[in-house]
Amino acid sequence: MPGGPVHIEAHPIVRVDAVNHYYGEGQTRNQVLYQNCIDIGPGQLVIMTGPSGSGKTTLLSLIGALRSVQEGMIQILDRSLTGLTPRELVAIRRNLGFIFQAHNLFDSLSAYENVRMAMQLGGFPAGEMRERGMHMLERLGIAHRADYKPRQLSGGQRQRVAVARALVNRPKLVLADEPTASLDKESSSSVVKLLKELTMNEGCTVLMVTHDNRILEIADRIVNMIDGNIVSDVVLRDALTVCELLKSIEPFKQLTPTEIANVADRMKKRRYGPGEIVIQQGDVGEEFFLIGAGTAAVTAQQLGEPARQIATLTTGQVFGEMALLTDQPRVASVRAIDDLETYYLGKKDFREAVALSAGFKDQIRQTYFDRYSTLQHWSA
C-alpha cells in the first residue's frame, strides 16, 4: 500500500483517505501529496516529521481546512472537508486550534486581548471571558503578563500567549507547526506538557509538525513523510514494545539500538481472532512475525498424515523467518489460539535487517539451521 499502513479507528477525529494534492497548474503542476491515508483517534498526540518539502505542512493545512481538498477525502470532527466553499471552511476552522511557528500576535493588543480575539469566536458570554482567558494564561505561566504588549514579552512568553490563544476555546483538534521552534527548554516543556495534558484529560487531539527531538517522547504516534508519501506511521507504545522484544531475539540482539528502532519502525501491527490462520504450510513466505500478545499454535503436516501441533508460541516469540531466509515454502502453519496481536515485517525489510550485521550472518544462519533441523526432527 503506497500510503503506508492505516490504523483503523472506530471514531476518528481526523480521517484522511487517498488524498492527492498538487501545486501549480498545467505545465507547472506539481504533485506534493500521494495517496495519503491516516486516521487519528481522539486523545492522540501525533507528531509528523519528515524533511522540508515532504508535504507534511501541506497535509497539515489540508486537515486544518486552510486549503481546499483537491483529490481524496478528509473528514475532521465528523465533517467532510471535500467540496466546501472557502466560507464554510472558515466556519469549520472555528472548532480548531492553530499554533504557528511564529506567534503572530497583534503588537497593538495586550496578551489578554490577543487571547480574547479567539474567545470572541467561541461564543462565550462577555462576562466569563476575562476569567477563562486568565485561566488559560495561568496554565501557561504568563497570567502575570496578561496586560503586557507582545513587545514587552520574551520570545517564549509570546509563543505561550499564542498557545493560550489557540487553546482557550478548548478545541477538540489542535494543529501545530513547530510550536516549540522558538522556545527555550523551559517554555517548550510547559507548552508540551499542556498539550499532553489536554490529550490525556480532555480528549483533545493534537497533530504537530516538529523536528524537535526533545518532544518526540511525548507523542503517542509518529508519522514520517518523505516526498509526499507517508512512509511510516508508528504508534509509539507499540514501537517501544517491539524494540524491547526484538532486543532479546536473534538476529536482532546483534543490532545497535538505532538499528533495532529502525526495524521496529518498519513493523506493522496486525490482529488475529482465535482460530484464525496466520501462515499456512506450503505457502510462499512473505512476512516475519513477532507476537506482541496472545498465543499461537504451530502445526506441521507430513503427506498423508494428520496435522500435528509441534509448538506453542507466546509474547516475544517470533516465527515465519525461515521461509524468508531460505526462499522455501512455509514448513508449518501458525494459528491463533486466542486473541493474537502480531507485529510483522516484510521480506525485504527483514533481509535488510539481517544483512545489517554481516558479521553475524553465519551465526544467524546457524541458528535457523538448528531450528530447521529441529523441525525436521519433529516431523520425522
Partner: protein, 402 residues
C-alpha cells in the same frame, strides 16, 4: 487590573455590553504614537488642501455676489443675454418703463455699472487702477448699504463719489473730503461704505446716475435721452406675492429680458462662476488634487500598516474570522484617521482663513457647507483608500502560515 475595568459590564440601556469586543482598530491606531502623528499630519495636510481650495472657491464666488446681496429689491430685471453680473449687458430703457406699468409693482429702479473703462487714481501714490462703478438715481436708491442711504443728498452734488473702504490697498486710503480722479475726471470723495473687493475688481465706487453719465458717457452724447439700464431693481407692492408679480412681468415683457428673484440672480451668478468661468474649475481641480493626494497618503499609510500585520490578519482568518471582519477593522481605522485628521485640518484652516481673509479682503469663512463638504470628502478619501489597501489583507492566505 486595568483591563478588566474596561471590559466588564459597561452596558447600553438595552443590555448589550459596550466594548464587548476588543477594539482592534482603535488599538492599531494608537499602537505607535509617532506613526499616528505622521499619518495624521499627512492626511490632515491633504484635507486642508481640499478645504482651502473649496474655501477659496466659495470666497471667490462669494466676493462676486457681494454687490448683488446689497441690492434692495425682490425681483431683478436683467437682459437675457447677461451671463455675469459685473459685465455690461444693458437692456432697452423702453422695457424698463414697460415694467413699471405692470400691476403689483411698488417700484422699478435702474442700476448702472461700469468696470472696463473706470480708472481710479490712488489719492496717495497717484497710480492708476481699475475700479468697478455702480450708479443709481439718488431719488430711487437701490442699495441696502447704510452709509450710502445716509449720503444720498451729498451724492446729488456734481462730481461726487463714495468708495469702498475695504477696497484693496493699491487703490489707496480714501476718506470723506479727499479729492482724486476717476477716469480722468476730478471727483470728490464724500464718504465710504463697506463692501469688499472681488476677484475681478480691486474696489468699488458708487455715484449718482447724472455723475455717471457725465463720466462714462451715454450711447449718443448729443441725445437728451437717458441710456439703457443695466439692472432694474424691482420692489413688489405690499401684500403681493413675489412669484405672482414675477409671472405677470414675464407675461408683459418680451424674451429679451429675464425677471429673476434676488435669490435666483445670486444662484445664476454663482453657477456661472462655478461652471462657466475658468476660475471655478481651477479650484475644483485644486480640490481634486487634494483629494488624490489624500487618497495616496491614506492608502500608503494603511497599506504599510497592513503589510506589517499580514500574518496577524492571516492568523485571524485561520482562527475563523471572515474577510468581512478584516475589512471592518481597516475601514474603522480609516474612519478614525479621517475624523482625527479632519479635526486637525479644520482648526488649521479656520486660522488660515482668519488671517488670509483679513489680508486678502475676501470672504473666507469656515461655513457649514464647507465644513460638511470637506468632512464628507475626507471620509470618502480615507474609506476609498482603505478599500484599495484592504485587498492585500483579503488576499493573504492563512495556509501560508504553516
Amino acid at each position: 487590573m486595568t483591563m478588566s475595568a474596561s471590559f466588564v459590564s459597561v452596558r447600553w440601556p438595552w443590555g448589550q455590553p459596550i466594548l464587548a469586543s476588543v477594539p482592534l482598530a482603535r488599538r492599531n491606531l494608537l499602537a505607535d504614537r509617532r506613526r499616528l502623528l505622521r499619518a495624521l499630519a499627512g492626511i490632515a495636510f491633504a484635507v486642508l488642501l481640499m478645504m482651502v481650495e473649496l474655501g477659496f472657491r466659495t470666497a471667490f464666488i462669494g466676493s462676486m455676489l457681494l454687490p448683488i446681496q446689497q441690492l434692495d429689491g425682490d425681483l431683478m430685471l436683467v437682459s437675457s443675454a447677461k451671463y455675469e453680473f459685473g459685465r455690461r449687458t444693458p437692456f432697452l430703457r423702453r422695457l424698463f418703463y414697460e415694467a413699471r406699468s405692470v400691476p403689483g409693482i411698488a417700484s422699478v429702479r435702474p442700476l448702472y455699472l461700469e468696470r472696463r473703462t473706470a480708472i481710479w487714481k490712488n489719492p496717495q501714490t497717484h497710480e492708476l487702477f481699475g475700479i468697478q462703478v455702480f450708479a443709481f438715481n439718488p431719488d430711487e436708491p437701490v442699495f441696502l448699504l447704510p452709509e450710502v442711504a445716509d449720503n444720498l443728498e451729498a451724492l446729488r452734488q456734481p462730481d461726487t463719489v463714495m468708495v469702498d473702504r475695504r477696497a484693496r490697498s493699491s487703490l489707496g486710503q480714501a476718506s470723506a473730503g479727499m479729492q482724486t480722479e476717476l477716469s480722468r475726471h476730478r471727483v470728490k470723495v464724500i464718504g465710504t461704505f463697506r463692501l469688499g473687493p472681488s476677484f475681478f475688481s480691486d474696489g468699488t465706487a458708487i455715484m449718482s446716475d447724472r455723475n455717471f453719465f457725465k463720466l462714462f458717457g451715454v450711447q449718443s452724447p448729443n441725445s437728451t435721452e437717458l441710456p439703457d439700464v443695466e439692472i432694474g431693481v424691482i420692489k413688489v407692492s405690499p401684500g403681493q406675492r413675489t412669484l405672482d408679480v414675477q409671472h405677470a412681468l414675464r407675461a408683459a415683457l418680451p424674451g429679451s429680458v429675464m425677471i429673476l428673484t434676488k435669490a435666483e440672480l445670486i444662484d445664476r451668478e454663482a453657477r456661472f462662476h462655478m461652471q462657466v468661468s475658468p476660475v471655478g474649475p481651477i479650484f475644483n481641480v485644486g480640490t481634486l488634487v487634494g483629494f488624490a493626494v489624500g487618497i495616496l497618503i491614506c492608502y500608503q499609510i494603511l497599506f504599510s500598516e497592513l503589510s506589517d500585520q499580514l500574518s496577524q490578519y492571516a492568523t485571524l482568518k485561520a482562527m475563523g474570522y471572515y474577510n468581512t471582519f478584516v475589512v471592518k477593522v481597516v475601514l474603522q481605522q480609516a474612519v478614525f484617521y479621517a475624523v482625527l485628521a479632519y479635526i486637525v485640518a479644520w482648526t488649521a484652516c479656520y486660522l488660515i482663513f482668519r488671517v488670509v481673509g483679513e489680508i486678502a479682503l475676501i470672504p473666507l469663512h469656515m461655513s457649514v457647507g464647507l465644513t460638511v463638504t470637506s468632512l464628507v470628502l475626507a471620509l470618502i478619501m480615507c474609506v476609498g483608500a482603505a478599500l484599495i489597501a484592504v485587498r492585500r489583507a483579503i488576499a493573504t492566505d492563512p495556509a501560508e502560515l504553516f
